[in-house]
Amino acid sequence: MEAKIALAGNPNSGKTSLFNELTGARQHVGNYPGVTVEKKEGTCVYNGHKMHIVDLPGTYSLTAYSEEEVVARDFLVNEKPDVVIDIVDASNLERNLYLAVQFLEMGVSMCIALNMIDVAKNRGIEIDAEKLSILLGVPVVPTIARTGEGKKDLISAAAKMVQGGKRKGFLEISYGDDLDKAILEMEKEIRANDFLTDTYHARWIALKYLENDKQILLKGQESNPSLSARLEKMVEKVSLHLEKTLNTYPEAMIADQRYGYINSIIKQGVIQQEHGQSRLYMSDKIDKVVTNRFLGPIIMIAILMALYQFTFTYSEAPVGWFESFFGWLGDAASTHLPDGLLKSLVVSGVIDGVGGVLGFVPLIMFMFFGIALLEDSGYLARVAFMLDRVFRIFGLHGSSVMAYIVSGGIAGGCAVPGVMATRTLKSPRERLATLLTVPFMNCGAKLPVFALLIAAFFAENEAEIMLIITLIAWLGALFVAKFLRLTIIKGESSPFVMELPPYRLPTFKGLAIHTWERTWQYIKKAGTVILGISIILWAMMTFPGLPDSRFQEFENMRETVKVAAGTAVIQELEASGEDTEFSQEAQDLKSRLADINSVEAEEGLRNSVAGRMGIALESVSKWAGFDWRTNIALVGGFAAKEVVISALGTAYSLGEVDPEESESLSETLAQTPGWSPLVALSLIIFTIFYAPCFVTVVMIVKESGSWKWGIFSMVFNTALALVLAALVFQVGSAMGILGG
């Protein structure tokens, strides 16, 4: 038997923990087709049966007001899972059953995981699972997702439901006389006309019309406009009546009756609650301190600082190992491959390009681990909470904070899901201001660029510099948002509500899975997209190459030097093994040849397509202190920000004198004339603010609905970045600080 099982439930009900427990490492993250809500799938084997498990987005309800809810609903209708496991927070039963009731109204086969019974017990809440099961007519299995307790019972209950076949029928609640009557009438019409009944059942369609459900209304208007209009008329009539008699409207009435139904069940002895307990639970006590108006911000900065300290300190050694490994790989490739284009491609294009990006995997991993810790413990939600006030001042919204954090507000996210996360913002103006400013955050692709420059020029205070970079990014984003809200996108701010999950001790398994998931994404991107772009950039930095006449001139120069040195010395050089001691003459010849090669390589690079472009840009970029090589990297960074590293790696590798003495890129940069801590700082500032990567721009266009904003983000951001970087560089140079 193979079965398809969907996991559903409120946010913070322990859904992710349970999913991790059930599927372990057998997970796959993707997107629901056509929409951008993350879709997690996994498998689990029970008694030799393969269970295919899909994690639905966490929702409170099944309306059409939020994308997550529509996705969850569509999945149930289109994919028809054999069983839905609804994860219910036992310490919060009433509200969690609001979603369960809606599943039953839809008529899906459902089984309830009564989760966090330990938490409930600690709060003096005892729940009679058997009674609840009988009253609701569905299996109810007590679980503790964090420890995996009850997961076997849960899967076996689900398997039994699959074997027992689809559940017939659906829950019918009375919504009061007026609505019940209207529903009956509408149902009759719907059935008589087979209106949408191939996908939904008649009563549910009527219910959704009464709830003014945009998605169903749209589908109805498409399928049968005249009947849809008739149904809408009926809804209008009963709405007017409700307003006159009870001063309410159908939606509110339906919600009321659902809660009424839930209460009637709970009151039949399902819950035993001890009274007189102190309401000040652990989480409230922590919140008193952590969200305090004075202590809160200090604690927040301290936590960020600790995270950076932890990341940079502990990742140093493994990053070194990775660098040595790629250094060794490069050496091995240059010794074993014949001279020529292939060798250049493999060594300079692939190993020095992609290797530079992959070298930061340990750092990325430590950072993601720290962020997973903040997220799983519940602290991130408090950050959003505290910043709502600040964001409001700058014309943004509490929900913008999450979009910022997803984009790399702490470091190491991605602006693409960040832009999509702005969908939770209901006000189009706040949303636009947010999605135009999230690309300023320090995403996982910019992070290695900063790490590289920090390691090369600010090795003394890595964590402090990282904190400053984060603060600059946030301040910049907030001021740009304010500027936009004062000029191009003016408008009121909208209301904010979010749940603050209780503080929890993260489980190691959860942390490991979340860390690995994100790290793997980084590795995958380096091995595919970045590899491809690196090869293209290598080609742009290699071709058209030097004209033959020029090449011949260099050959002649080499010959002249060789002849001048004499055959004996040449023979000595050519016969040399690994550790031969050279005579003075041979050493001289070697370094002279190397000089010629170096001049030739640089001239070749300057003459290449990319080189010419970089040189052309120098007239502008010199204000910020960037040379043509950096320009190539920055232009490449538009494709993906990691490319800034891989392109610098390739550029300096192609110009490298002696490939056998390869150093890490950060060492090379630190020793190259023209680079200084000031240039590095200017480059960091530029990297924070300049045009978002191509994929983000596409996403901005898609989400804002106009090319205008995509172009705006490229032009405005780059101009802003240039002005800021030039300001830093010019002021720094004038004052003579940081080696400028």
């Binding site: 309800s61 919060n92 509200r95 939606e251 919600a255 009321d256 919140d287 209301p495 509500v497």
Partner: protein
Amino acid sequence: MKTHSTPLTAVPAGKKVRIVSLAGGRGMCARLTSMGLVPGSEIEIVKSGDPGPFIVTAGNCRLAIGTGMAAKIMVRSR
């Protein structure tokens, strides 16, 4: 003991109140309802909104509510 209903913004921290009505648009009301903030339900104000949003407990969960939204939730103290 019938008192007039006041917006949530006027209630100090530490007080328990009952929700009388929700004055926002339909989308906002649906959201609050699904999160357990229904007329008739009892909430406790953990932190009042100065500075930053309100924190209230409804049932056994904590919700952060922005000042703008809090102004539209009408409550009555018990």
